[in-house]
Symmetry: C2
Subunit: 101 residues, 2 copies
């Protein structure tokens, strides 16, 4: 796992604890540079599917739609409410965090 | 504009009034069957860009990602928070509503 991401996860351990403590179903932290799972509370298959489809397909599609509509604008956060649960996606520079609640 | 949509807009006039009264920047109601703007508070160019990019590209991409992750699940609502404002997108069967706040 890349060094920056390790530091961030260590520094935010209590935040991750708090987020996953409350009534969330789980989380995935993905390393954007290698498009791989860095940290997760799910099984690896489930986490990899989220990284592949949600981060890989949806976040990039969303970033380009936001820029198509206004080149000076930028995607900050994405909430996808589905019939079963909600995906909360925070795309950062080096990593992307998704929490399910 | 299709009959169903006209009825829905007429029946929900006070809701639309309330939504657009509060601190929202505007809204677009799009007819899904013709992919055209049915009702909007924006100028036509801006509204058409939202229908084309947000409804046409992002909503469909999001619907398929949700199904790829879980075929029994379904997209209900989408919130795209950007640096400048937030898009609230409600994809229904016959029409899609987007509010900017």
């Amino acid at each position: 796992m890349n060094r920056i991401l390790e530091d961030v996860i260590r520094k935010n351990a209590d935040t991750i604890e708090r987020i996953t403590g409350e009534n969330t179903m789980g989380y995935v932290v993905a390393d954007n540079t290698t498009n791989s799972v860095a940290e997760t509370s799910f099984d690896n298959t489930g986490a990899q599917a989220i990284v592949k489809h949600l981060h890989g397909v949806l976040v990039s599609s969303c970033q380009s739609v936001v820029r198509d509509l206004d080149p000076t604008n930028k995607l900050c956060f994405l909430r996808v409410a589905t019939r079963k649960f909600e995906y909360l996606v925070a795309p950062e520079e080096d990593f992307t965090i998704t929490v399910l609640q």
